[in-house]
Symmetry: C2
Subunit: 467 residues, 2 copies
């Protein structure tokens, strides 16, 4: 019997807010199905973020390529007694035929920039709103959180320890993938390792120590089975005594030609315990035994620990990463920006949207650093917008790339390693002040002159739309 | 081609932290597989929570009943080159045979109480740690968040609008189910409606208005297709003008015998706009047209709006609910409390665990209200613990119920409606001060005398475990 954690392809199309279906049915009824453009953007960056990392695209594209209302889906919609047969017939024959332009996974972006653009017959573009936002938002939040941890960890190993606290299994798998994309070294999540080839790591549980009569026996038993995974959890009882027990074992093992890998601290005053652990290990001649820290860590605590010179070699980051706890959701929106060749905007208080099909242009200085972005209209080019940057750029690159055309992928699928490398190289180009984990500086993002003019026109036009 | 959102039953067993497998392999190697008890509890309640609602159990039980390492799972584990053939053979033949006692879904609980107890051969209990925590934690957080909203909404309709901001699709489906369990009236999530029979609701999108040349045409078109779903989104441009357009349509429709259902406010100063909208509608003789509010709402904002007498009839709650934004993860732990008949505890700084197989007893006063809980040993009874409550209780009930025995469900599966009713009746028994959404009073939870004595003994015992 399959259990209901399973999500079949035929159910993906039902992962939608009801209004996307009712609105689509009303569009259908009234003959609205000309080409439309919707764009995804964050209205403002989450607290303490100076940049974000795009993620989630590859899975979304896979879902769109396989978007089908099969008999089971149609039967369910019919059972709601809301939809006319003609609309259900339309859905039954629908194959998703849109064009998707998007930032490749791992691209750095900022508030107000179109992360992803759907250009499709209106109904097709409307139907996928929830799917698109859901698949792009959370992965991008986790990739960003991970990159922030990497940014402060100074090359030390970082491992995702979050599956137990994730918001479901899907969330845990996404978090493992997105944190690896953001620069983590791996995850505890065995399923994510299988799905995505992510390196998996693990140490030892408190229960392993507790099930034994003594801590020393537990350490010896675990190390006998897994000498190469011998990172011993030393805080089940008194941590300092635990480190001494680990050191005693490490010394004995060395005589047998086996290297104790590390000790793991998971509670208490981590900095103080790391200093004391290092001293105990060093005095025992175990300078090569690593100190692994975990327990409610995040980028802020990692930065503080390292600023206080805590001798820690690796970090397990759990809850804070897995749910992006200081910003568990981003302010991502999916807004109609053009219909039937005409720009569109909404002027809701505090939630104005930006009209037009757009492109993002990023200016690079002679040393390769990026220093400003321009959001422009799609028919503008790097050459035409170059003169709008001050100082004059050494190079200008367009960031949105065609991902799907007529609903099909036209370019080879990039690997997760490609996306991870894109994060590394992208962050290397970004000013340190933008990357600060607290009160970052604001990266300059402006509208091109042509887009600015369109916004003014459309605001005026919007006023006539309520007459 | 299946897309990789799918999660087969054979993959559930791989949804684990690597350490659960390595620790299990080390237990196996050293002959540790006597009966063990692990218990799930929250160390402390999340901020501003005076109580929590248990949820997620039914899906967990389904996973445990179907727990199998099939050939694909074994092949993957073998590929990690960590596990000996004997251990893989053991996993291949493993059928999950444990006993699960747990709070039925919808039960109110507090910090320090065992929400769920696994009693099984040590390795079986160890292997499911991540699965258990993942499946209980987030659903309970959302059910709690939802119950808090219900508690302040005074019977007004509440709808889950969160799927687009959820942490993945699984999270969105869990949130829809858990919020309904917590007392919401339904969800926008069509997939969750299909899976769980939850009522689905929807209004209208900004894009529907924007795709039309004028707002009036959009309102007319939508209402023509869905007269019974005619809740018109009035904030695409100027909200007050939008309400006037809706009122004009409502008046015209009335002459045709059709009732306009409502207007929806999604931005701006919601209280002020609700007052003005109500006045406009009432002046048009549309007193029965409802005002629906959405846009970054949560229990705090709903309480404030209603305290300010905002004339709102229904609320859509999105992001804050879907990710439980002020507490996106709970401090749930899964700790070994007994091995081979002997109690166990850890004494980690700030993270001490409570030994023994336990039961929770809840004291009721003569009017049926609950006023204190006692965490006791499993062989204590309502009669034996009754004398430990002050004042003397009119009744004492044991809360943990046997859910699985020998890995199989022995009692009929309760319905989602049962769980929802349990929330309602449970909250009716709880003092209002505990239910306050800000700075709630603390509900009294104590240890029985017998448990207290065991803790003292085991703390002493723990000191000898590091010799």
């Amino acid at each position: 019997m399959p259990i209901d954690l399973r999500l079949d392809a035929s159910e993906i199309v039902l992962f939608t807010d009801l209004y996307e279906l009712t609105v689509s049915a009303a569009f259908f009824d009234h003959g609205f199905n000309e080409p439309a453009t919707f764009e995804v953007a964050v209205r403002k960056l989450p607290p303490n973020r100076g940049y974000m990392i795009a993620a989630g695209l590859e899975r979304l594209l896979e879902a769109l390529e396989n978007y089908r209302f099969d008999d089971a889906a149609i039967a369910h919609l019919d059972s709601l007694k809301l939809f006319k047969p003609a609309f259900l017939d339309y859905l039954r024959q629908l194959r998703w035929s849109g064009t998707v332009r998007a930032l490749p996974e791992g691209t750095i972006f900022f508030a107000g920039e179109p992360v992803l653009q759907v250009h499709a017959p209106l109904i097709e573009a409307q139907l996928v709103e929830t799917l698109v936002l859901n698949q792009i938002g959370f992965p991008s939040m986790v990739a960003t959180k991970a990159a922030r941890c990497v940014g402060v960890a100074g090359g030390r190993r970082l491992v995702d320890f979050g599956p137990r606290r994730s918001q479901g299994i899907d969330a845990a798998v996404i978090a493992a993938r997105s944190s690896y994309l953001g620069g983590f070294h791996g995850s505890a999540n065995v399923l994510a390792g299988k799905r995505y080839g992510i390196p998996v790591f693990g140490t030892m549980s408190h229960s392993f120590v507790m099930a034994h009569e003594t801590e020393r026996e537990a350490f010896a038993d675990f190390t006998a089975t897994f000498p190469k995974l011998s990172t011993l959890l030393v805080d089940t009882y008194d941590t300092v005594r635990g480190v001494r027990n680990a050191a005693a074992l490490g010394t004995a093992l060395r005589e047998a030609g086996i290297k104790l890998q590390g000790v793991r601290l998971d509670s208490g005053d981590i900095r103080d315990l790391a200093v004391r652990s290092r001293a105990i290990l060093d005095r025992a001649g175990l300078g090569e035994v690593a100190i692994f820290a975990s327990g409610n860590l995040d980028e802020y605590k990692i930065a503080d620990l390292l600023a206080e010179r805590a001798p820690i070699d690796a970090f397990g980051v759990g809850t804070a990463l897995a749910v992006s706890d200081d910003a568990p959701a981003g302010d991502f929106t999916y807004k109609l920006t053009e219909y039937n060749g005409q720009p569109r905007l909404k002027t809701s208080a505090g939630k104005i949207s930006v009209p037009g099909r757009k492109q993002i242009f990023r200016a690079l200085n002679p040393s390769g650093g990026c220093y400003a972005d321009l959001v422009a209209l799609i028919d503008e080019t790097a050459q035409t917008v170059a003169r709008e940057f001050r100082p004059a750029p050494a190079d200008v690159v367009a960031l949105l790339e065609v991902q799907l055309e007529d609903g099909k992928r036209r370019i080879p699928r990039p690997t997760l390693a490609d996306a991870r490398e894109r994060v590394t190289s992208g962050l290397a180009k970004l000013d340190a002040r933008i990357k600060a984990i607290r009160k970052p500086a604001e990266y300059p993002v402006r509208h091109s002159a042509a887009l600015g003019a369109m916004i003014i026109d459309e605001k005026l036009h919007a006023e006539t739309r309520q007459d």
